[in-house]
Amino acid sequence: MGSLGNLASSGTLTQILVGLSRTTILFIVSSGLTLILGVLRIPNIAHGSLYMIGAFVACTVIQTLGGGMPAFWAALTVAPLAVAALGFVLERGFFSYLYDREHLMLLLLTFSFALILGDLVKIVWGAEYRSVTVPAFFQGSAELFGLPLPYYNLFLLLVGPVIAVFLWLVINRTRMGKIALAAAVDSEMVSAVGINVGWVFAFTFVLGCALAGLGGALIAPMVNISLGMDHSLIMEAFLIVIMGGLGNIWGALLGSLIFGLTQSLGILAWPQFGIVFPYLAVVVVLLFRPKGLLRSTW
Amino acid sequence: MLRVESAVLSFGGFRAVNGANLEVTAGEIVAVIGPNGAGKTTLFHLITGHLSPDSGRILFKGREISGLPPHVICRRGISRSFQVVNIFPRLTVFENVQIAVLSRERRTFRIFSEVKGMEADEVHSILRNVGLYDRRDAESDLLSHGDQKVLEIAVALGGKPELLILDEPTAGMAPEETERCIRLIRRLSEELGLTILFCEHDIGLVFEIAKRIMVMVRGGTVIQGSCEEVRRNREVQSAYLGETGGC
């Protein structure tokens, strides 16, 4: 009896750890989204497309370099950079002229960008799905309480905190980050002090896009890389950001944790309706705290 | 008719209204004066329900109204204009006033009757009264600033209020517009018997039309009394009138 209970609870534990590693991806993508939302006030639906592009770029890099660990690291570097470059073009070319538009307009504008980027991906990479394998180094599983936890999930579990610390440093320890934080609260004030807010916005936008690209690159070995992978992710990322509090990076972290955990535990408890639980969690949170769990910068 | 008893409201730690007292009796014109940031607008927001006081009481016709939502307070008989122009920019002048009248007549939930021309008589008479009749079909967004301020008053009149609250009705107006506006306020009081509570920075204007004056400084009431009493009050002279030059 006792051993059975043990087995069930260690199964729960692996499920939680797998859920947490998925949370890492959600956190990376939604922290980028919330950064852009908090500082530039743009509800960027194209963020999902950037994530998808990150995955495709990573796939191309890995396939060109023939797999292996160097190719994997190259992909993790190139994908965020490529997406950041694309973000830079979008910001300078469009958004920098449109900051004062109504949120609804910006939402629809970014949706049209998502439509365009989706088709561009189709043109460049074709309509078939692609896949890359986990590099040999990460293949296999660690034993955890007698149950396997894939090394790659373990790796993701480490990446999450690294990114969180990195973002904390960028925001609190660099001049640009501090200005961005101030601009999030009151951009007029910042420009009144004589700082060129335009470049702060551009920096923030590019950083946010790079995070989307990184998320895409990290997910690449785990899923089929396909058109449409942006749709479900961007919805989840938005819900996470809303739940956490608009513009709050720690809110994105908390939201991702809640979203990821309710999902993995939900699947454990009731397989058919597992994916309903995170949505339910968001609704419950918003019913009681309509402005999100943590303090929003809005 | 209206009575504010030691109302307090803080934004964060800052007490914008700090123990203000005010008494308005039916039929009179009362002015609130005070330097910038004294809390006049905030006090009006408290009276009309846009904010609710942390403590203190606000009574209208003997009934407590503090904490009620704005639309309920409006229905009790208080209408107001705003310091910053606050109208329905995409609607015509006529429609701006029409909504106020429809609302007073409780007709806003009628979903199948034709709104066009509804209540036209009353809307027209209000517009004639304030001098905007000729512009009745113009989109209100396109009016001059002065006309928009007057439209503010017209919208407030659509509610047929017993107490009319005007927050700096002449702010930003050209001299002749100001003149017209003063005459309008006087006429509303004399012909319609409206009770009017307003605030203004132009002291000359205040002494010209107000029967009684309340002086507000840093959220509190310094004095409320007749023009003479206020003029003679030392504290007011030093705190306020001194800097604008005596009148």
């Binding site: 629809l108 504008l109 960008f113 | 009628r110």
Partner: protein
């Protein structure tokens, strides 16, 4: 004004004649245009007239469709009852969602609404035993009169015209005018005694109801339902229809819906990149004509009138 009425009558005549002139497929497309136009118009009541950020309107379309589909497939009750149950279910859901959402304003309203809508979507998406899950329900049996493409088309036409007339009536009523006031300035509206939330709630119920009617019509035309009907991307697409035609006009959203449905049908004949085409058009409209195409035309027209007056 009279010219406009004549134009509408002419359009109606063309629509009535359509099935006789067109092959069956295009009759089907025309019916889809009609019901999608109805859907966009219903959303516009909330967003264009009321200024309410109804981000996930497709949920009511979906619930209207599922309500009808489930009545037709899982019960032996008479079909007309199913046609009524769908829209009523949508209106009821709209009421329930509205009650919790109207406490909030603008973006926060939209965010709670989209979260609730996603919850509804994901439930329908996973509830295989009841809703058919991600497969949806296909081959829904209809009464004989609606079984043919022509029958379904005429039914759709009649219902759409009726609903548009009703909504037009509502838009031109005291309620509609008050709603425009709330959109322009909710604070002012409250200050003249309007109970803003109550009006918004009624608007949401009306919009949800007509959205549900559109969903029911989809069942009649397509004899199927599937969860993608209420996926958030479709909600945004309907928003886009409103924007494209013009949110501050009554018929703009209908025109926008027609444009997008037809664009999809015809552009996908020539290219598999029709969303690229749509995306580019949209970007241009949003940047250069934020009032929408019809809205822009109306503004020009008004400006012309003002100049000649």
């Amino acid at each position: 004004m009279n010219g406009r009425r004549a134009a509408l009558l002419l359009l109606l005549a063309v629509l009535v004649a359509l099935p006789h002139a067109l092959p069956r497929f295009y009759t089907y497309v025309a019916a889809i245009v009609l019901l999608t136009g109805l859907l966009a118009t219903s959303l516009n009541l909330a967003i264009g007239y009321g200024g309410i950020y109804q981000f996930h309107h497709a949920v009511f379309y979906g619930i209207g469709a599922y309500g009808t589909a489930l009545m037709l497939t899982r019960t032996a009750l008479p079909a007309p009852l199913g046609f009524v149950v769908g829209p009523l279910a949508a209106a009821l859901l709209s009421l329930a969602m509205g009650v919790v959402c109207v406490r909030l304003s603008k973006l926060y309203f939209g965010m709670l609404q989209i979260s609730l809508g996603s919850l509804v979507w994901v439930t329908v998406y996973r509830w295989y035993s009841f809703t058919g899950g991600d497969d949806g329900i296909h081959g829904i049996p209809l009464p004989d009169a609606l079984g043919s493409t022509g029958g379904a088309y005429y039914f759709t036409l009649a219902v759409t015209v009726l609903c548009l007339a009703a909504m037009r009536r509502i838009a031109a009523s005291p309620f509609g005018k008050t709603l425009e006031g709330i959109r322009d300035n909710p604070v002012r509206s409250a200050a003249v005694g309007v109970d803003v939330r109550a009006h918004q709630l009624v608007t949401l119920v009306i919009a949800g109801f007509f959205g549900g009617v559109a969903g029911t019509l989809f069942v009649v035309v397509d004899t199927s339902v599937f969860p993608d009907m209420m996926f958030w991307t479709f909600s945004l697409e309907v928003l886009i229809m409103c924007l494209l035609g013009g949110m501050y006009t009554f018929f703009g959203p209908f025109a926008g819906a027609a444009a997008i449905v037809l664009l999809r049908v015809f552009a996908s004949h020539y290219t598999s990149y029709w969303s690229l085409v749509l995306g580019v058009i949209l970007t241009l409209v949003i940047i250069f004509l934020p009032d929408g195409i019809l809205g822009y035309a109306v503004r020009r027209h008004r400006a012309g009138e003002a100049r000649s007056a």
